[in-house]
Symmetry: C2
């Protein structure tokens, strides 16, 4: 990432009320150099020296912004500003780890936006009523252990040591050994659980990772909820046979059954919810030979919605369709749910507060959109009301070196975050 | 294979006019012991000592039947009986190699039936007008080099040394080195090309490898033609994307396109020919991740019919459907034909001769059926008129230890073959 490309189209008029676009760009650029790949992407895998180096930079910037910094037993970095008059706390943050050869905005923008608000307050001599905490969550992406949200799970007290204990990275190193290398342990992770009784709200800024805001021509949008995935494993078992010798009307072709189900799955989500999606991402054929009728097909279905009841109804409809297709064709079908994460609701009140903040920044009616992907806010949302602001992503690309949000869009989002936090801190 | 299970239901009345069911059973059993697998299957891979051992046994039986035996430059074993008065030749035979862990009838039955007719003639002091040749073709299955019909290609003079030269077996041994181990060479294979000007006909007995005769409750049927496969490679290229963040109406899902095509392909063959079939046997998804919209799907389509024009029309219809689906969805599609083997016609005259022979053995109107799989007769059919007789297969199973044809059905087929050969040799 070139610093020049970050600031070349920047509208200087957006630098006001303490928020400084050039500073934000400089910090995005500084972070981008840690773990930079030959494709220009980011390789800041969790629990490596690159993630630690990025967290160390964040600590420096937190201190510059007047925050008191500590690192908890999960490796989360927490910077705190004491409120003027209230014991209550409002939090904001995101993560600094990336997927392998990922982008430079997914995570860092949320961390830097939260720090930028503290810096703006300091530079304009503003002290909020409530205390303010900025959090850098460790291991959100989960690229190293194929499991993520470690830091936010630990902070929310939903961390499951027995699950993490089973994990090994691609070098065969266990989760516990890697924790040890980082001066952490399963018990330190458990001790990171925060008492949320004094926390009034958590706000996360994140890039959209989709194209809705781009289509709406809007820099920033209000998240309605975070869809929780339900994963199904569907296995059709028919009968393998010779592709030449088996007449069409005497087949039990598992792949034809799968093909019909795939075609049906595409049509179902809109019947349940405008925000629901369903995806067959993985499909394996056995024996997978050119001249052999497929005897078995195993496929995955990823079903999501921000409304849990609608998501579950959609999932049941997919299972029913699979059974119907199998029955018509004398094929066996087995379905198994392998993952079920409840969606996280953003309350109407929090959505309206976020919308009010966005309205002050963008001269248009705020746009509401679901988050299909999971975020740290999902874990924190189990403990306290959350809000999320999405920043427009160019071409909807993420987890890729081409991931990009314009500096203008990023600064618009910081202004909206600042309005929202001032509102939440003032109550 | 137990000898007892072969003969337990045998109807002794079928042993007459020189044809001996117990002898046939004994020989099927002797062959089954060569390369017997722990599952009770056959592992007689081409160009191994097992295939050679089986061919050596066949040579002994040919000599017992009064044939003069030679092995040609392709490893084909040819036993010849001089005709009484004509210079013309009629041939019959099949192969003795198997697929890994295959069955005991696919190949051996055709070889032993052809020998049994010669033995019956000898035992009844019959000498046909024309000369008679029994052929054991080498490497029909092609399991070793993923390419087959080597012996019949060589005999028919359609052997392509440049193609075979590229092949290696699973141990990395080249085709040429394996030939050398067998005392053969690319040039000896080429020299095996026979002059077919004196050959009037070739007849192959084979198990059906399908369930049609079983459904018709008939021991033996008349083959109408051998379907030639056309193989298509179809690649859909859409756009990979996050399964959670990409709305259903903003996707270019390559697997949905593939699913729709698979569902359509099943419906198409019957629109072109009652004997046509089309199979998607192989399908690979990229990146094949549970939460990623498939960006690319590569699939194979195996299209067959005994009528070349109808097969090609079906193939074109599949390509057109693939393009139509792709166009509707802003997905790219590429199709490539990777194999095209012309179907082999069995002339009306040869079908009627075979039917007349079957009519003498089975007290019912003969049943005509296509061969979906390739056989040595396919290659020989390029040089001389062919006929094929199919023997009923239990449950249509083949290429499997469970492959089975009852001895009664096998002997019925030998009688039909004998009638047919006597007809063809008398002309």
């Amino acid at each position: 990432m070139r610093f020049e490309s970050l600031i070349e189209d920047y509208n200087e008029a957006l630098t006001h009320t303490g928020v400084n676009g050039e500073r934000l760009a400089r910090r995005l650029y500084e972070l981008s150099k840690i773990g930079l790949t030959k494709d220009g992407g980011s390789n800041r895998i969790s629990f490596t020296k690159e993630e630690q180096e990025a967290k160390n930079l964040a600590k420096v910037w937190m201190q510059e912004a007047g925050l008191t910094v500590k690192e908890d037993g999960a490796g989360n970095v927490i910077g705190r500003l004491e409120g003027a008059s209230s014991k209550a706390v409002v939090m904001s943050g995101s993560h600094l780890d990336s997927v392998p050869n990922g982008g430079h905005f997914d995570g860092p923008l949320g961390v830097l936006a939260a720090i930028e608000v503290a810096q703006a307050w300091k530079d304009t001599d503003f002290v909020p009523e409530k205390s303010y905490e900025v959090v850098v969550f460790s291991d959100e992406e989960g690229a190293r252990f194929n499991s993520g949200l470690t830091g936010s799970q630990a902070l929310a007290g939903t961390f499951d040591p027995s699950e993490k204990k089973k994990l090994t990275d691609s070098d065969g190193k266990s989760f516990e050994d890697v924790m040890k290398e980082n001066g952490l342990s399963l018990s330190s992770l458990q001790s990171a659980a925060r008492d949320f009784s004094d926390v009034d709200a958590f706000v996360e800024v994140h890039i959209e990772q989709g194209k809705k805001l781009e289509k709406e021509n809007l820099p920033v949008g209000v998240v309605q909820g975070i869809a929780g995935p339900s994963w199904l494993d569907v296995t059709f078992t028919g009968a393998a046979g010779h592709a030449g010798n088996t007449p069409m009307d005497d087949r039990a072709d598992a792949l034809v059954a799968a093909g019909l189900l795939i075609a049906e799955i595409e049509k179902l989500p809109s019947q349940f919810s405008s925000s629901a999606v369903a995806t067959v991402g993985k499909l394996n054929v056995t024996p997978n030979g050119v001249n052999v009728i497929p005897g078995e097909v195993q496929m995955s279905v990823d079903v999501r919605d921000i409304h849990e009841d609608k998501r579950n109804a959609l999932k049941e409809a997919i299972i029913a369709k699979a059974c119907e297709i199998a029955e018509e064709r004398s094929i066996k079908v087995e379905t198994k749910e392998t993952l079920s994460v409840p969606p996280i609701n953003v309350t109407e009140k929090m959505q309206q507060k976020a919308a009010a903040a966005v309205r002050k920044v963008v001269n248009r009616e705020p746009y509401f959109l679901p988050s299909g992907a999971g975020h740290d806010a999902m874990m924190i949302g189990k403990k306290t009301p959350i809000a999320m602001l999405f920043t427009r992503s160019r071409d909807g690309i993420s987890h890729n070196p081409a991931e990009w949000s314009s500096l203008n869009d990023c600064v618009h989002t910081v202004h909206a975050l600042k309005h929202l936090l001032e509102d939440l801190c003032a109550e």
